[in-house]
Every structure is written in C-alpha cells, then in structure tokens.
C-alpha cells in the first residue's frame, strides 16, 4: 500500500492507483468528465486538476497521475479552484446553452460541475462552433454540438462493447466524435453510451423529450428479458414506466444494461391484456373474474388430474410458478413443465442447470468452450464479461456451433456434437488447451439442449468438464447459459413433470384436456389438441392468448413483487413500480383466488407466507442476492444417451425480439428492421 495525504487526511491506496482514486479514498470529490473507472485513462478533459506538493508548481490531472509514497495532495487550494474554473470556462466555450431543451438536464455532469466548480458567468462573446449530428441507429440520439470530446463513448465501444465503431476524426477545431461513415452502432450494449456520456451529446432516441428526471418515481428491480438478472431501476411517472436504467451490481451486470432490456419498455404499454376474456360460442367475450373462474371450474368438473396440465413461460416470477404448481397438486395433476422450449434440462441436481462458475468467476477463467451457445445474443452482459477477461490476455475461447462474431477471437471448432466426442477422447487439439488450463469453463447454451438428443449433449458436456479438470474442489467450470429469466427459478421449485407426469411435448396433441399456460408464448400453439381447454394467464396478447378459451390478465415484471433466479442461480427480487393495468392482477393472487373459488384454497394469503413456502420447497430461495462460490463435490454427471450428428441451431435468432414484451415494442421492431432484416436478406 502507498501512503498519500489528501487535504490533510492520510489514506493508504494500492500501488498503481492514480491520484484521483486516492482523493476518493480520502472522501474528497474530484470533478471529472473523461475519467471512468471501467475505461482506460484518457486524461484529456483536465477537469480533475489537483495540486501536488514538492512537484512542479502547476496543477496536475489527477486521473492520469500515479501516486507515490508520501505524496501530499491538495484539492481545495486557490490554484486548484482557479484552474478548474478555467477548464470549465474553456469547456463551455463551444458548448451550447441549450439546457432547457436538453434531455440530459437534471442528470448532466457538465451542468452539475459547472454549478459546483465553474464561474458564475461567461466572458466569451465570439461565435461558437457547431457540429453536425450523427445518425447512430434507432437507439442513440446525438446532438454533437454538445459533445465535450471526453472520448468516453469511443473507449466504451472499443473496450467494453467490443465493437470499435466510434472514433474522433479530424482534429483541433474540426474534431468530431462519430462513426465517420454513416452506420448504425452494432452493439447490443449501445444504450450504455447514453449513461456514460457526461453531457447531452448521446441521449436515448425513443425517450427523447419524454420526461425530466425529477418527475420520475424510481423503483429498484430486476430485469427479466434475459437470464442474466441485471439489476435495474424502473423509472415511472403515474401509471407508465418511462425508462429502465441499470443499477450497480459488480457480480452481475457491473453498471451496464443490455439494449433489449433497456429499450423494450415501450412494449410494456402495447398489446396488454387488461381485462378478463371468456370464449362463448367460439368467440372471446370480455367478462368478469367470476365468469372466468366459473367457466374454468365448469370445465374442470369431472376431469381427472392426469388430464390437466400447466406450462410456465419465460418471464414468470417464482411465486406465481409455485402457486400454479400447488394448484395443480391440489387438482391431482403432476403435469407441470417450465421448459416450454423443450430443452433437456436436468433438474435432479442444481449444478446440472446453473452457470456454476458465476458471472464474476469468468474473470478467472483461462480457457472457455462454448457448446451451442452465442453469449452475445443470449446474454450480452455475460459476453461483455468474457471480453473483459479476454482483454487482460491469455484467454482461449473455442465454440462448437454456428459461427458468430462474439467481439473477441473465437476458434470455431465444429458445428455439432461430433466435435464433443473428439474433445472427450482427447483427439481434438482444443482438448489439450482445456486440460492445460488452470480454470477451464464449459458453457452449454440452450441451442445445444433444445433438441431430441439434448440430454446426451448435456451429459457429454458435463463429462468433458470432468475430463479436462473443470470440476474441482475449488473451481466449478460447468455452466448452463439460460435465455429465460424464469427457468432456473422454475427448476429450483420443481416445476417439472412429477411422478408419472407429462412434459410439454406429452401435453400437446390432446395429451391433456385442460391446459393452464402461465405466460407461455414460445410453444407452437397449433400443436395443442383441438379439444384441449386452454387457460392463458399472462400480460400480453401474443401466441398463448390467441389460442386461449379463458384469458386471465396478469402483471408484467414491472407491476409485481416477484422473485427471479438468474442463470447463475442467484435469487433476486423485483419490485412493483406501477400497478397492473385495468383488471389485471399480480399473478400469484389470481391463482390464490381461483383456488379459493374451487374450494381448495392454497395455504398462503400474503406474499410473505408464499415466500415462506418457497423457502420450504427449496432453501435456496432464502439466500437472497448472495451467491456462494463453490467447487464441485460430486462429479457424477447427468444421464445421457446417443448424440445425433446434426449441427446446433442458434438459440436466439433475433436478439431484439425474444419474448412478448420485446415483440410488442416498436423500438425493438425498429431494431429488427435495422439490424436483423438486412442480415436475413443478405443470407438469402
């Protein structure tokens, strides 16, 4: 540790720290624009000036100056104040005075720091420079005259997103930040540019002129549009969610948020199910809750338990899945399944279906094998972690499955399971890379499991992890990457076929007479038997509702208190930000109410009681937010079988539209038109 004195306060900071970090350790605020903890140091804005004793008598840019033993720093001398005021005055020379019409207003670093560190007026009377705006695609809006050329966006796109498309072209007075050639940013993380831009140069296009930050009610929650479990903040005004921002969680998303999760919010207002519908004479009619319950009750009369089934969808909270499972047991049915895509997930041991290395654990890996997995599309933030690790050097990545650009070099070693055999018997050269690695990882994607031989692929991947030494006492290198936020929770609470129960495929084609769909929209509804009575409980009018005989309007994730388990197995809670629209209700309450109607009341009347029941079903639900790191205690793998030679298919064909919310979002439709349609056209 290095001893530094800042304004008379002694602090110890790790060697290699910069002076700005030392000032922060001493609790001193240092203004900055270009410096960002997660990006390389540029040192070009000069806002972070401090004075250092026994150094040349000039102000120093603290973010770009390393600490020395015994260094004495001052952040509040007249020289520092004057120097910062001077820098601010220069920055404002070319910055427009358009705060009243700027979307950054109220959360602008330049605004705040001008008040805190600037002069009270301008002495500049000459003409200001103007810069042409750039078109960066459907998500990021630019007002480039406001750019202060801090280059944060340039460094972010190269270092964090791995898509180096932004740059600073020309120089001096003519320097501009942009892509130089007209193009839409291709990153799935582009929304973060809006957050890191310290001024209003990069703002949200869909959110333009929608609200001021001080009008918004902020609720901490968890994202459900992929299985990462990104920590988010939901900003609402009145009955409307207006935007979603990331919240800091070093172990999960750091401070980033993927574009689908950020920009699908307009899908929360569209195609909503806000009233109860019951089919009468072949037509859905708007009805009351009681009519619906009566209709279901009537249909259930005399139906044996094994002729009733339930399928849980991708966005469900654990509470509602448990309530539905309990309701099914009360009806005498063991036909429950949460794997609507038919993935061969093995629920017998938790290690078989979670991302055991943990997201933060990726930073220790030195070799990664992707099996039927495209993390860039399936979990952009996990991909960003791999890139982060790759940038520190010494990481080798290979992929079995469709070839894709993951933003870091990946060795494509084959398309299908055949390669796994070669890796298992050691004949494939990448097997020795994995074996030589200290911390190897095998990541199995849903593309590898969603097939007839999925169980065999899962078993081989586990076996491979064992063979290459990925299953150690201190290191667990076997990982399943999920795409659905509900999946791990569903598996944890056993939303799987019980003894003699039917799975999704068996429930299709008349396998059951009554089918309860809880937000289930990714199954092929045409396969449901013609005489099967379908109850759809959910929040969007999509595939499931279109086939339903009764529609029970539920709550979207922003409208309920719910527990979600991410792909790592991390239990997190989302919170209600606004109330569900119209007649819609929180899902567990709907199920509880119906059980009461049936005369088989579920044994919980409050969310607390339901959560107690969750903990009884599986103690992991008591372990909120914490994810203990663990090694592998038992190397016995899941049951396998014969693998087919057919190549793996991508699990996510279009990143921007994967669920009912993103499919209802006009912004995501625009992204699809911008990014996915041209690729499809080119492929044809």
């Amino acid at each position: 540790m290095v001893k530094v004195t800042v304004d008379g306060i002694d602090v110890d900071v790790p060697p290699g720290s910069n002076v700005l970090q030392a000032c922060e350790a001493a609790g001193k605020e240092v203004p900055r624009f270009c410096y960002h903890e997660r990006l390389s140091v540029a040192g070009n804005c000069r806002m972070c000036l401090v004075e250092i004793e026994k150094a040349p008598p000039k102000p120093f840019a603290s973010c770009a100056y390393p600490v020395n033993e015994g260094m004495v720093v001052h952040t509040d001398t007249p020289m520092v104040k004057k120097a910062r005021a001077g820098v601010m005055e220069f920055l404002l020379i070319n910055h427009p005075l358009d705060c009243p019409i700027c979307d950054q207003g109220g959360e602008c670093d330049l605004q705040d720091q001008a008040v805190g560190y600037g002069r009270d007026g301008s002495r500049y009377t000459e003409a200001k420079r103007a810069v042409k705006d750039k078109d960066l695609g459907p998500l990021v809006k630019t007002v480039m005259t406001r750019c202060i050329q801090c280059t944060r966006c340039i460094r972010f796109s190269a270092e964090i997103a791995g898509t180096p498309e932004l740059g600073a072209t020309a120089r001096g007075e003519s320097m501009e930040v942009g892509t130089y050639v007209q193009m839409a940013l291709t990153s799935e993380l582009s929304g973060n540019l809006i957050d890191i831009c310290p001024v209003g140069a990069l703002t949200s296009k869909p959110y333009a002129f929608v609200a001021r930050p001080w009008e918004l009610k902020k609720t901490d929650s968890v994202d459900v549009l992929d299985a990462v479990g990104t920590n988010i903040r939901v900003d609402a005004r009145g009955p409307e969610v207006l935007r979603i921002l990331p919240r800091l969680n070093e172990d999960v998303n750091e401070e980033w948020l993927a574009d689908k999760s950020r920009f699908s919010v307009d899908g929360l207002k569209r195609r909503r199910l806000d009233s109860v519908w019951v089919k009468r004479d072949g037509k859905l009619v708007k009805s009351g809750w009681e009519d619906a319950f009566e209709a279901i009750d009537a249909r259930l009369k005399g139906v044996a338990g094994e002729r009733i089934g339930a399928i849980a969808g991708d966005l469900c909270d654990a509470e509602s899945m448990l309530a539905l499972k309990d309701l099914m047991s009360a009806l005498g049915s063991a036909n429950t399944d949460c794997r609507q895509d038919g993935a061969a997930l093995d629920g017998t041991r938790r290690e078989f279906y979670t991302f055991n290395t943990s997201i933060a654990g990726i930073e220790a890996a030195d070799a990664i094998l992707l099996v039927g997995c495209n993390p860039r599309r399936e979990a952009p933030l996990i991909n960003a972690r791999v890139l982060k690790r790759w940038r520190t050097g010494g990481l080798k990545v290979a992929s079995v499955g469709p070839v894709a650009d993951l933003t870091y070099p990946v060795e494509a070693i084959g398309e299908g399971p055949a390669v796994l055999a070669g890796l298992l018997d050691g004949s494939h050269p990448f097997a020795s890379v994995l074996k030589a690695a200290k911390h190897p990882m095998v990541i199995v994607g849903q593309g590898a499991l969603r097939r007839a031989d999925g169980a065999a692929v899962l078993a081989s991947a586990w076996k491979l992890a064992e063979t290459v030494g990925a299953l150690g006492a201190e290191w667990h290198g076997f990982n399943v990457l999920h795409t659905a936020a509900a999946r791990v929770g569903g598996l944890d609470l056993g939303f799987l076929p019980g003894a003699g129960g039917k799975n999704v495929a068996a429930m299709m084609g008349g396998g059951v007479d009554v089918l309860w769909l809880l937000g289930t929209d990714e199954i092929d509804t045409t396969k449901i038997g013609a005489d099967t009575f379908v109850i759809y409980q959910g929040h969007h009018g999509d595939a499931g509702a279109a086939r339903a005989d009764v529609i029970l309007p539920g709550a979207a994730y922003t409208e309920k208190n719910g527990t979600y388990v991410n792909t790592e197995g991390r239990v997190q809670r989302g919170q209600l930000a606004i109330y569900p629209p119209g007649e819609a209700r929180e899902d567990w309450k709907i199920l509880r109410a119906f059980s009461g109607w049936l005369g088989k009341p579920l044994p919980y009347d409050s969310i607390e009681a339901l959560r107690d029941r969750l903990e009884t079903v599986n103690p992991v639900f008591a372990r909120l937010d914490i994810l203990p790191r663990f090694g592998c205690a038992d190397v016995a793998g899941p049951a396998g079988g014969e693998m087919s030679p057919v190549a793996f298919e991508p699990a996510v064909a279009n990143y921007y539209q994967t669920d009912v919310i993103s499919r209802a979002s006009p912004t995501m439709a625009e992204c699809t038109a911008t990014y996915v349609a041209p690729l499809k056209a080119a492929a044809e």
Partner: protein
Amino acid sequence: MTEHAEPASFAFDAESEAKITKVMAKYPAGKQASAVLPLLDFAQRQMGRVTGSAWVPKVAMDEIARRLEMAPIRVYEVATFYFMFNMAPVGKYHLQLCTTTPCWLRGSDDVVAACRKATGIKGWKETSEDGLFTMTEVECVGACVNAPILQVNDDFFEDMDAESTEKLLAALRRGEYPTPGSVTGRQTSAPEGGATTLTTLNFPAE
C-alpha cells in the same frame, strides 16, 4: 465525410505492393498497425498515379484496415487527423498555399490572388472546372526563409509573387513541370543576389 463520389473498390497495385512489403518488414507481428501512415501514403500516391487525383477513398482505408487488422474507424481517425491526406478528390495539381505569418508578410496574398485569377477557384478545398487544380490553404510548411511558398503536390516553389505564380500555372497547364525551388534563382536558401559573407577568404590549395 464530405459529399463526393466514392470508387466501388480499391486494391493496391504491384508498385504499391512492393513498397508495402518493404515497410511491413519493419514491424514485428502484432504491431503491423504501426504501418498505417505509410500505407495511407501509398494509397494516395497510387490514386494520383492511376487516376490523376491523389486522394484516399474510403474503400482504400477499409482495405488498409483489413490488411493491418485494425478497426476501420482507427484508420479513419489517423487519415483525417493528418492534413496531407486528401479525404476527397483533388485536381492533378494540388496547390497548397502557405498563408502563415512569414509567408503572409512576404506577400502570400498576392500568390493566392494570382492562383484564383488563373484557375477561377473561389474558395478553399475547391477544384477548378477543368479538374487540373485544387487550392488548399496550409499552415507553415517550414520553408519560411524563402517565403512565400506555393507547394504543388510534393514540391515547393519558393520566393513566389503574382507574376511567377501566373507563369508557373501557365506552364503546368501546358503540361510542363518547371524545376522546383526558388523561382528567383537563388541557391537553396542562400542570400538573394549571391553570397554576402565569406567573400574575401582565400584558401590556399591543399
């Protein structure tokens, strides 16, 4: 980017390739991006040689990015930073007029006016209608002793005035290429009218 027609493709020709091979040998593997400046230069010269207009089209920058394994934007940044890379087509003779203080004090305004008169070009970075000339205002080119300077492509024409400028442009128009250097005939940057010092020294023969 400025508005202009871009060629559909670009490939280095044999002459450029020979130069590239030589330059690339200087950089160790993994550091080949260091060759971006010379490659941009080769591209611009090749364009001049082949099309008569020495500039760097976007497709050429993309080709350089591909060869040096850089992101295209990194090449755009470098190319636009340096004033000597032309990001839009220029005339066969690129008239680069120095108007920085020493040249200006020595009459660069006259040289500029003479160029405008002879070529009909109104602004900066514009090309004459016949496609022969482009006028660009440049900062000090480092030859102030013989100010004012008119740089044509790679060559300096020094000690210019209105008359010598007119003559020079007329010659270029005729397809001649006068010898670069001082137009008043002085030797490099030696004093005008011959030597003024060391004139009386008489060295004995060795």
